[in-house]
């Protein structure tokens, strides 16, 4: 363990000291910082074997900070995140997620009786979400359909027999305040979900206690990550309507191309120029999982219009009913 270096990024001095003590006992030299800027600066100069991220004085979420530090590091450090209860940390290959140690809380509670000054060292956050949605009118709702139609500035409470997720959207971002899922990006795989929603006013948003542990991500990235996390083709296909449905690209080509998952797997130009393509044809081109993910992604993000074609057993014609109606109207008007 000689010559190993560790960096602790944490504003909680007691916890930092405990972790530093442990690492030093394991023959690591330890640096400690309490904010992301110093952390990145140090990681760029020193070759750390391990970087521990806890609550710190930055506003960036821990997993994002981990990603930045890892990418900017001189070496390839192992990053450990101390996860708070209810905090959502997506998995990454360089990341080790540990529940934030809390054994010392018991010591504090015992010692508080003897020495009130200890309160200043540890002040646990208390945030009640029980009243997050004031009139919780839960309805049985398919979770994929819910996210497909989710608008901005909406609070939501998703529950199943085993799990509970509370969050909201504000503008183009989604915030998750509470989740019992190990990986929030598993959310689209939840079954038998009941969902309650409520509009979120700007005043209410401003009064919410949000900090670095609040999971926040651009909604589009959230959906892409959720879909990328599903590797069961049948599960992906279940999110799509009838495979015979015809697809028309609705979003501008340059927007769709911004999403690598779609751009790498779908010939967007071809789809744009051929609005008579069916979902089946799009997926079947080379029948791979990534292509299915890309189609689901476009569907979930409302980048494509889906229309059932004329379902005729009598004729071998493939055309959207709306297209046929336009042709009929045109000829009538000649």
């Amino acid at each position: 363990m000689e010559d190993k270096k560790a960096l602790i990024v944490c504003k909680e001095s007691l916890l930092s000291e405990i972790v530093a003590y442990t690492l030093k006992k394991l023959s690591c030299s330890v640096d400690m910082v309490d904010n992301p800027k110093d952390a990145v600066s140090k990681a760029e100069k020193e070759n750390y074997t391990i970087i521990v991220i806890g609550n710190n004085n930055g506003t960036i979420v821990k997993h994002k900070l981990a990603e930045i530090i890892y990418n900017k590091s001189l070496g390839r450090p192992n990053v450990v995140i101390f996860k708070e209860q209810g905090e959502i940390i997506p998995k990454a290959h360089y990341l080790k997620i540990l529940d934030k140690p809390d054994f010392y809380k018991t010591f504090i509670e015992i010692l508080q009786k003897e020495s009130p000054a200890i309160r200043q060292i540890y002040s646990p956050e208390e945030s009640s979400l029980s009243n997050f949605i004031k009139i919780p009118n839960f309805k049985k709702t398919d979770v994929a359909s819910f996210f497909k139609h989710l608008k901005g500035n909406v609070k939501f409470h998703i529950r199943t027999d085993e799990h509970e997720i509370l969050g909201f959207t504000m503008g183009a971002d989604i915030f998750i305040l509470k989740s019992t899922l190990n990986n929030i990006y598993d959310i689209l795989t939840l079954k038998n979900t009941e969902i309650a929603t409520e509009p979120l006013s700007l005043n209410e948003f401003l009064s919410l206690t949000l900090d670095t542990k609040t999971f926040k991500i651009n909604f589009r990235d959230f959906i892409v990550n959720c879909i990328n996390n599903i590797n069961n083709k049948d599960e992906l296909l279940s999110m799509l309507p009838d495979k015979k449905s015809m697809v028309t690209l609705k979003a501008p080509v340059y927007i769709v191309k911004q999403i690598d998952l779609i751009n790498d797997n779908i010939n967007i130009e071809k789809l744009h120029s051929n609005p008579n393509t069916t979902i089946e044809e799009l997926i079947k081109e080379d029948d791979n999982l990534e292509k299915t993910k890309a189609v689901v992604c476009m569907y979930m993000l409302n980048m494509i219009d889906i229309e059932k074609p004329i379902e005729s057993k009598k004729y071998d014609v493939k055309i959207k009913k709306s297209f046929l109606k336009k042709i009929i109207d045109k000829i009538r008007g000649l």
Partner: protein, 181 residues
């Protein structure tokens, strides 16, 4: 997206005139002098490849109108033409027994290639020497009952519109869900 309407029928049945009536462009024709001595007596020019007309519906949808040659030696074109085709209009000259007899032949040929809404239109109703009704019925008796048989003047725009709309309406109404509703 390009869709097609195919107009076919025997020699001198009025295919070129038919697409002229609704095409937004002057149809691109490939008429050449008739070479067969027997046919020369009927008309001097005939379509050697196909006539082409166009109808722009909107930015997304364009309908191509193809009049295919009546001669059998151009049969190889049909499978290519049928891609994205919406309907087939089979024309027959009401004054020409052979032309009417050929309708069933055309119907069978296209049906074997692709099942499309098909309308039969007997042209030249403005002429007086039409084939007697009983004979027409006899010659067309092999056609299924659901194939409409219209009598039109291929130079009359309203007649042409009605013929095409009849075929497209058949397609529109064939939608299973629509029928349930």
């Amino acid at each position: 997206m390009v869709f097609k309407i195919i107009v076919t029928g025997s020699f001198n049945s009025g295919k070129t005139e038919f697409i002229k009536r609704i095409s937004e462009i002057i149809p691109i024709t490939t008429d050449k002098p008739v070479t067969e001595q027997e046919l020369k007596e009927i008309k001097t020019l005939t379509t050697v490849a196909m006539d082409f007309g166009r109808l722009t519906v909107d930015e997304e949808i364009i309908v191509h109108l193809y009049a295919t040659p009546g001669q059998e030696r151009f049969d190889f074109i049909y499978p290519l033409l049928l891609k994205n085709a919406l309907a087939i209009i089979i024309l027959g000259d009401i004054t020409d027994e052979k032309s009417i007899k050929d309708i069933v032949k055309y119907y069978k040929k296209f049906k074997s290639l692709k099942r499309l809404p098909t309308v039969v239109a007997l042209t030249k109703i403005d002429l007086k020497n039409s084939v007697p009704e009983e004979k027409i019925k006899e010659y067309l008796s092999e056609l299924p009952e659901d194939v409409p048989i219209l009598k039109i003047d291929a130079t009359n725009k309203e007649h042409v519109k009605k013929t095409i709309l009849t075929a497209l309406q058949m397609l529109f109404e064939s939608d299973e869900e629509q029928e349930i509703v």
